[in-house]
Symmetry: C2
Amino acid sequence: MEKEEGNSLKSAPQATTISRRELLKLAGIGGAGLLLGAAGMGGLWNKADKATGGALGTEPRNLASGDQIPFYGDHQAGITTPAQNHILFAAFDVTAAGADNVRELFKAWTAAAAEMAKGSMIGDKNEHANLPPSDTGEAAGLSPSKLTITFGAGPSLFDGRFGLSAKRPAALVDLPAFGGDELLEEWSGGDLAVQVNADDMQVAFHAIRNLARIARGKAVLRWTQEGFQRTGAADKAGATPRNLMGFKDGTANPDTSDQAEMERIVWADASDGAAWMAGGSYMIVRRIRIRVEVWDRSTLQDQEATFGRYRHSGAPLGGKDEFDAVELSRKDEQGEPIIPIRSHMALARGDGTNKILRRSFSYSSGMDHKTGQLDAGLLFVCFNRDSRKQFIPMQQKLGQSDLLNEYIVHTGSAIFACFPGVKEGGYIGETLL
Amino acid sequence: MEKEEGNSLKSAPQATTISRRELLKLAGIGGAGLLLGAAGMGGLWNKADKATGGALGTEPRNLASGDQIPFYGDHQAGITTPAQNHILFAAFDVTAAGADNVRELFKAWTAAAAEMAKGSMIGDKNEHANLPPSDTGEAAGLSPSKLTITFGAGPSLFDGRFGLSAKRPAALVDLPAFGGDELLEEWSGGDLAVQVNADDMQVAFHAIRNLARIARGKAVLRWTQEGFQRTGAADKAGATPRNLMGFKDGTANPDTSDQAEMERIVWADASDGAAWMAGGSYMIVRRIRIRVEVWDRSTLQDQEATFGRYRHSGAPLGGKDEFDAVELSRKDEQGEPIIPIRSHMALARGDGTNKILRRSFSYSSGMDHKTGQLDAGLLFVCFNRDSRKQFIPMQQKLGQSDLLNEYIVHTGSAIFACFPGVKEGGYIGETLL
C-alpha cells in the first residue's frame, strides 16, 4: 500500500481514476490474476470481498450466498415470498412534477433494487475520493439476506399531477372509515409504497436509506415503520409465528404454492379492468397498536374467546390441533356457539370463501410518552386481487364487531397498487407510465 | 379433547386446578408416560413443547437449544458477552416507596430473567382460564436466542427515597454536559436500567414487556430504544460490524477473553470504594442520531478523514489492514498527520492507554416528521470500571473536537451501576439492598 502514502485522505489512487465498472471490465479481459497482482486493489471493494477472501474474482456479484431472492420475475418479490425476519415499510410522496420524473425515479429504483437483491453495492462511485459514495456502505460484506423490495402506487399518484387519473384502477379505492380507526396522518397514505423485507435488519435499513437517497429531488419519505417476526433460528420447528398477543397468526393463510389459489386471491388480471396491473396485487398496510397492558390483564379464557382459538395450540376452540377444521356451527350444552361469533377468527373467516394473503409483522416502537405504555403491535400487511371484494368487507365486519377491538387501535392505514413483476431491462411501473 | 366440550371458553380443565409446578412435580414422581396418557394435557404448554414434539418430558426446561447464555454467574451476562443481533434497552423509574419494594421487584425480576434466559415460560399460571397468563406468550416455541438481561441502577436511585444515598458509588457520577449534546428527557436518565439482548427481536421484546408487567405498581417504563446489528447469518465471515455510516465499528475494542484486561477496564473492584459493586460495571448509554442525509452528501475522502480509517478495509489511514498498528505520528510529504488529529479514531484512541468496552447497536426509529429525515443512528452502549477516568475524559475530547460532530447529535444519555453477577438463589442488587 505504499501508493497510499503522500495523501492520507485519498483512497487507493487507482480507484479514484478508474471506476469499479471499468475495473470489472478489465477483470473480464485480463483475468483476475493480473489485477490481483496490481497495487491499489485495497481500495476496491464490494460485498463479495468477504466471500472471496478479499480478492476480486472475475464474477462481480456476491458469489457465496444462497439467500438471494431474484428481483426480476413475472410478479414482484415480497408478495408470495415466505415472510422474512424483518420489514421496513416506507411510503413516499412524489415532489417533482410530471410523469417523466416518476419514470426516471422508477428506473433508478429498479437498478438499485436489482443490485441490492444480489447483495451488490449500488453504483460505480464507491471509491472516488472526491465524490460521495454511490452506496452508503453499511451492508458491505453482508449476504443478500433474502432481501425483497416491493413497489406500489397509492391512490394519490392518480390525482392528476402526473396525467395518470384515467389509469387509476377501480380496485384502488380509497379505503372507507372502519370501526376502531384512530388514524394518524403520520402513518397513513402515500403516493408510493416501498416494502422492504430481509432476514437482516441492517440490510433492510440499507435498502430504504439508499432508495430515499436516490429519490432526492423527486420524492420524499412520508412515513416508515420497522417490524419483525421471530427468526428461523429461534423457531427451528418452523411453526406459525405468534403475534405480540401470544397467539399464532396466519394459520388460515392460503397456500402460496397453489398457483390457482394465488390467481384467485392475490394477482390482478387484465380482465379486472386495469390492464397495466395484470400480474400485480393490491396491498393494504395497517399500523395496529395493541393495548398491551390491557390485554395482559385479561384472563386466558377472555383471550381465547377473543381470538376463537386456544393460545397454546392455535386450535379452534373445541378442536385439538392448529389446522383442525373450523366448525362455527358447533354449540355447547347451553346451545351457545363454541367459537364466539364475534371472535376474531369467526368474523375474519366468515363462510370461508373470502380470503386475503396476510403478510404481517410485529412492531416495537419505543413507548408512548403520554401514557408510559409500550407502543407495540402489528404492522398488518395483506395482498388481495380486489380490496372491494376481499379486504374491505372483511375489515368492515371486524371493525364493527370484533371482540379484539377492545385491545387494539388502528393508527395508520394505506392502500397501494403493487406493480406487476419486471423483466431484466425493464423497470417497475413501466406498464403504467 | 372431549373434556373441553361443555364450555368452550375454558382451557384444559386440569390446568385450571393443577398448577404447572404441581404437574411438573407429578411428572418427576409418576414419570412422563402416565401424564401423557392423561386427558387435558393439550392445555398445558411451555416452550419446550416444540422441541419435544408437543409432549411434556420429565425435564421442564427447553431441551434442545444450544443458544442459551446462563443468567447466573460471577458477572452479569450482557457485558462481556459477544453482542447479539438485537437490543431492547429500557430505563425504569421506581414509583413505590421504600427499599423493600425495590427488593421485591429485584427478586421477581431475577426469577423471571432466569426463566427467560432458559427459554422457559414465566411463572406457573399459564393455563388458568380465569387468570391472566403469567407469561404473555409471544416467545412460546422460540429458543432462548442467547437472551441476556443486564440490570443496573442510575444515580437517581440513590437520591434518598430508598435510604441508599450513602451507598452511591463515587464512580456513579452524573455525566457532565458534553459538546454535541442535545439531550432530550425522553431518552435520558432512569432509576433502573434493563438491557435486553437476543438474537431474536421477538424474544427481546417479550423480555422487556414481561419485566415491565412484573414491575407494575413498583416501577414504570421511562424510556426504551430498540437496536440491531447485522446478523451472524448475513455476515458469515464474522467481520467487525459496520455502523450506519458504513464504517467498521469496534476494531479497537479490548479482547473480552483477556481476564486481566477485563479486570482493568470493565469490572469494578471492592477497592474502588463501593464494595457492593465488586464484579459489577458502569454502563453508559447514549442515543446518538446520525444526520444521515448530511453524511450521505459528503465525499469518501471527508468520510475517511472523519473516522481516520478507510471505509472499505477499516485500516487506519496510511495502513493496509484493519488491525494494523495505529501510527498517529506519521506525517505526509507536506508534514501533515496522515491520520487527522481531530478524526474520531485519533481522539478516541489518544495515547492508547484509556479504553472502554463498547457494545453498541444501530437503531432505526422511523422518521422525524418535522424534517422528513430518517431517525436513525447509534445506540452507543459501553462499560467501564470508572467513568471518571475512562468514558468521561474520552467523550470530553470527542465532544469538543471530533470531526464526526458535524454528522451526529447526542439526543439521549444515561449512566448506570450494573450489579455484580448473581448466584442461583440470590437476586440482582442483593449486595446493595
